[in-house]
């Protein structure tokens, strides 16, 4: 079984279903549009901000505000890429064609990850430039210290969210169950717990909190986060790897 053949096959699969197009377009549109909106609001609010808020004003991070919602579309993309196979019964046809389950999973994830990365990078850069345009005189430039890292990091963050979702969906198989766990987790639980003092120290190590650190250029006042931008992304990568290993082990052992 040549891996190249399976990669080609997975590319045909991913480009031939509508869900790929609508989830990814939604991620692009929502991330950029919401980022622009919030950037525009920040500009009009800037003069009324306290001095402290002005000092820690992070124009780069603000232009990524749309990702909080846009990442949900990336989660749906990641979940559907994998769980489509199970919900349609296609998985049996697929595994009969490619009985090497490791190769099958690798090819599927590789294709979806590369596609996700291209879309996420483009989205991150677009969100940055359009967001900065909205910020007017308060804008940051790509050449500023740490800004390029944050923009590239934004693309990596979105990609990793999708890959994490693929790993979880490989473990859980059902699209409803996967979305039912991932969406509330990233959209509600993670952010709510972030405001509770007792759980703050734990929440820092959740994938989205740790990963989004890379998009910050100006850290908030009194920031005592125990890791840097790349350290945070590293923590997120560990989460992703754990989900992928879990998915691989289960796929390998389970009856299809």
């Amino acid at each position: 079984m040549a891996t190249v053949q399976v990669v080609r096959s997975e590319w045909t699969k991913i480009r031939s279903v509508a869900s790929t197009v609508w989830t990814l377009s939604l991620a692009v549109v929502v991330t950029i549009a919401l980022g622009m909106l919030i950037s525009a609001l920040a500009r009009s609010e800037f003069d009324r901000m306290s001095t402290q808020d002005r000092i820690t004003f992070d124009p780069t991070f603000i232009s990524f505000a749309g990702m909080s919602l846009g990442q949900l579309a990336m989660i749906v993309f990641g979940v559907l890429v994998v769980s489509n196979e199970y919900s349609t019964g296609m998985i049996r046809t697929s595994l009969a064609a490619v009985p090497q389950r490791g190769t099958f999973l690798f090819a599927k994830l590789a294709v979806a990850t590369v596609l996700g990365l291209v879309v996420s990078m483009a989205t991150s850069f677009a969100a940055f430039f359009l967001g900065q345009a909205m910020l007017g005189e308060h804008r940051a430039s790509l050449g500023d210290d740490g800004v390029l890292r944050a923009v590239i990091g934004g693309g990596l963050y979105m990609t990793l969210i999708a890959v994490f979702s693929m790993g979880v969906a490989t473990m859980l198989r059902s699209p409803m169950l996967s979305l039912g766990i991932l969406v509330p987790f990233f959209f509600l639980i993670s952010s709510i717990l972030g405001y509770v003092d007792a759980t703050k120290d734990v929440v820092r190590f959740l994938p989205d909190h740790a990963g989004s650190r890379i998009m910050q250029v100006v850290p908030p006042v009194g920031d005592d986060t125990p890791y840097g931008p790349w350290g945070g992304l590293g923590i997120m990568v560990l989460w992703v790897l754990a989900a992928l290993v879990g998915g691989y082990v289960l796929l390998k052992r389970r009856d299809a």
């Binding site: 045909t12 031939s16 296609m90 064609a97 009985p99 299809a256």
Partner: protein, 317 residues
């Protein structure tokens, strides 16, 4: 050739497939028969390496499924479930399967043509009828031009024309020297297509025999007789050495093909007959009896008991 050896699948306490050992040979259609829930689909999934056997072994031309290079070129399968993404077109469904096994793209066009789906090649599978879905599944099985074909309930949901098409297809595939293994829960369907028969019930092998043998052994022919002079007729038959059995509603049954002989006897003794008809027990009945016995067998632990004896024991008790 597909070889099963002591193939067993247990789900917790329940044994779905119980030490199946048989060989599916090339050049003929082998029917895989059993009532719903007998373990046919589980067996087929184990052959395809989708489900892991609890014990035993299954080999495709001497090799395990996952050792096959580009398996679709060795063995093609139509599984019971509609194994296609409803949002993907028929063409793309087959294309992604072809690519994964290094099968040239032109085969996609060829098999679409073979199954008669060329006109809807670009339509999404969700708009397909059950019959079209089956045709797409058959196209996927044929894609790699494999020497072995597996069909799980291929006529399900097909119209009479489609059923005839599947029968003809399976026979012609076997005639080309391929191994064709087809499951069904309908004996009548198997009688029309299969040359060889493997019957299972509750996961156990009940019969592994040629179709001709199965028919000869199981289609009991007998003569049904009705007469207003039953007692005299019984005497006459007894004297002639013929055993007649009463069958409930006052009719008599005589085993074998003796209608003419009985008619002559009756005429000689001037007996009035209201019915004298040669009968043939259907294969469906034979199959039901065979599988019913497997249920009885499992209900008792240990010794096989025929349903007749079972009934008597019950009356005594």
């Amino acid at each position: 050739m597909i070889e099963l050896e002591g193939l067993t699948k247990r789900y917790g306490e329940k044994t779905a497939v119980d030490h199946l050992t048989f060989t599916v040979r090339p050049g003929i259609v082998t029917g895989f028969l059993g009532p719903n829930g007998a373990g046919k689909s589980t067996t087929m999934r184990m052959i395809l390496g989708l489900d892991r056997p609890t014990a035993g072994d299954v080999r495709i031309d001497g090799r395990h499924y996952d050792e096959l290079k580009d398996p679709l070129t060795s063995i093609g399968a139509l599984l019971e479930a509609k194994g296609a993404h409803p949002g993907r077109s028929a063409r793309n469904h087959l294309l992604c399967l072809a690519q994964s096994n290094g099968i040239p793209d032109r085969r996609v066009r060829e098999v679409l043509d073979t199954v008669g789906l060329t006109a809807v090649a670009r339509k999404k599978a969700k708009g397909f009828s059950l019959g079209m879905g089956q045709r797409l599944g058959i196209a996927a099985a044929l894609l790699g031009d494999p020497r072995i074909l597996l069909f799980d309930e291929p006529v399900n949901g097909l119209d009479p024309e489609g059923i005839l098409w599947v029968r003809t297809l399976m026979k012609s595939l076997a005639a080309e020297g391929r191994t064709v293994f087809v499951s069904s829960h309908l004996m009548s369907e198997m009688a029309l297509t299969a040359d060889h028969l493997v019957v299972i019930g509750q996961g156990r092998l009940l019969a592994d025999t040629s179709m001709a043998d199965f028919i000869a052994r199981n289609s009991r022919s007998y003569v049904r007789i009705r007469s207003p002079q039953r007692e005299r007729l019984l005497d006459v038959l007894h004297q002639a050495g013929i055993t007649a059995v009463e069958s409930g509603d006052g009719t008599l049954e005589v085993d074998g093909d003796k209608a003419e002989h009985i008619g002559e006897l009756a005429a000689r003794h001037q007996l009035v007959l209201h019915e004298l008809s040669p009968q043939q027990a259907s294969l469906e009945e034979a199959f039901m009896q065979l599988t019913a016995e497997s249920v009885e067998y499992h209900a008792h632990s240990g010794t096989p008991v025929s349903p007749q004896q079972w009934g008597d024991d019950w009356k005594k008790g």
